[in-house]
């Protein structure tokens, strides 16, 4: 699988790149303030990032730093640590983009 790993580092995305990337060409990794997308709803709505049918990972270190336990994240999000992230980068992705 030659996927692009898209690192989402912000809670609110100021660009529409995620909407434009070809379907199936990428997975999402929530990092830094992007991890809020994994657990925090806005006006009762989960983050749109979780609803696009792509695989979504979230960094455990960045979750707990911000007061969010891995048990609180949405069920379709896979929590990884830095160790797991290295494996994702080498085994699942061929390229990465940091948004």
């Amino acid at each position: 699988m030659a996927k692009i790993g898209v690192f989402l580092s912000q809670h609110r995305n100021s660009n529409d790149t995620l909407d434009r990337l070809s379907k199936g060409s990428f997975d999402v990794v929530l990092v830094q303030n992007g991890v809020y997308c994994a657990a925090i709803k806005e006006n009762g709505q989960s983050s749109p990032v979780l609803g696009r049918g792509t695989k979504v990972y979230a960094m455990s270190e960045d979750l707990v730093s911000r007061g969010i336990e891995p048990s609180q994240v949405a069920s379709n999000v896979t929590v990884v640590n830095f160790d797991g992230l290295v494996d994702l980068i080498f085994n699942e992705f061929t390229k990465t983009i940091w948004l």
Binding site: F7, S9, Q32, F82, V86, I89, F90, T94, T96, W98
Partner: protein, 119 residues
Amino acid sequence: MGKLTIGCFSSLVGSMTLDFAVKLAEAARKKGHDVDVWLSGNGTMLAKKGQRSFKDYSALEKTITELIADGSNVVACEACAEARGIHKEDLISGLGIKSADWYLASCFSADRVVHIGGE
């Protein structure tokens, strides 16, 4: 085992971006990968020696020194550093200072590149 090149344009302290980059570098080293770290733009702030450690600020100088001792290349963009008043004598020991083509050469031989943009 492969080679990971991490490029970083983002600033030190407060923005946790360099902290993220350094943690990723450490994790990759632990798994036996080769690691290059490129610091450009505000990222060159990390190159400055004599960063004082306070509890309210993340302190990365020690970790960077360990990464270098362990064989990773940590290199700052020369022009970006000089423009900020960071000269050769200001650098953390062992840290390199090069022009931007070094980063591209590092990407050339890298299996994976994680490029982290600026603020």
